[in-house]
Symmetry: C2
Subunit: 204 residues, 2 copies
């Protein structure tokens, strides 16, 4: 019995469905589109519209964002520096699982620190981490203020708010920069899709 | 600008790709096959072989197990009661994301406590949680001891080991029971696949 079991365990590793098998089934590669930028810069809006375009083209996608992470996996975390760091660490690990599952993953988190984004990049293989800097001036983001958060930060109701009393470290070498205070949503989406086509992540 | 942005945010919610869109693209439903049982009962072996069969049939799958969870997302957790509980909580939340992503998800964790499994069940919709009790006598599991853990537990090198000095609460109403100390691996896999066919999770 023991030996049979050991033999089974060998088969186990050999026959495991792997990332390549999943990509083959999906008929496309997998990677993460890591949207980073200020609150109100348009990360979620852009990610959602890009996802829709990809889905229409038969690409298997998933978005990780505040909606499905902060209320679930990371609901035990607050906004202290330690908790913010743990928040991004877990998101990075879940992203890795999704990319391993063959999914074109999109994330929409402020992720203000270079080091944390770098940690996620290092979890993944080359070409699997596509850092997209959703660039928008603080002024434009604050005028939009879709969730009323800048107002609360200015009033002191929220502490450590990125751009107000906590820093945003802009990506130094992002794979793509989308200037959402210069472009329409439609053109922003187009820029991302064309990047993915040009780099061979998706086919024409 | 503000008003345009607000309008965009409305579109955002309406146009989001949802679970049904993803299932439609995959051409199958999504759920979790939650394998539970003693260490050495054959959970991982069974999950891996079931995954292979599903993949061959074009079903989009992913396995969450000790290999990809304990060394990544949950590497900050030990084996205290609190950490074991947090371990399963996070796995439940990640499972929910994968099911939402349209993936037929398989998990292979001892998950010894009824209450924790129940918590995961409640995170999901009806029919999305398929509890599979991988039933194997302690004697048979201990003879197999594929990782040498029972030996260490008996020596006192490992504390709180399920079945030795920590309880295993067998599922009361699992969707399926697979008796791995009675069946060959092949027959065990067949039992799971036939269950999925019979219940309409996968098509003939």
């Amino acid at each position: 019995m023991t030996e049979k079991k050991k033999a089974d365990n060998i088969t186990w590793h050999e026959s495991k469905v792997n990332k390549n098998d999943r990509r083959k089934l999906n008929k496309h590669t997998s990677a993460v589109l890591w949207f980073t930028g200020l609150s109100g810069s348009g990360k979620s809006t852009l990610a959602v519209e890009v996802e829709r375009k990809l889905n229409e083209r038969g690409i298997h996608t998933y978005i990780l964002d505040g909606d499905n992470i902060r209320h679930g996996l990371n609901k035990d975390l607050g906004f202290s520096p330690e908790d913010r760091s743990e928040n991004i660490r877990r998101i990075g690990e879940v992203t890795k699982l999704f990319v391993d599952a063959g999914i074109m993953t999109l994330t929409a988190f402020i992720s203000p620190y270079h080091e944390e984004r770098q940690q996620v990049r290092e979890l993944l293989n080359d070409l699997e981490f596509i850092e997209i800097y959703v660039k928008c001036s603080l002024e434009a983001a604050e005028i939009r203020d879709p969730k009323g958060l800048y107002k609360k930060a200015r009033n002191g109701e929220i502490k450590n708010f990125t751009g107000i009393d906590a820093p945003y470290e802009a990506p130094k070498h992002p794979e793509l920069i989308v200037e959402t205070d210069q472009l329409s949503l439609e053109d922003s989406v187009k820029q991302v899709i064309e990047f993915l086509e040009r780099k061979g992540y998706i086919y024409l």
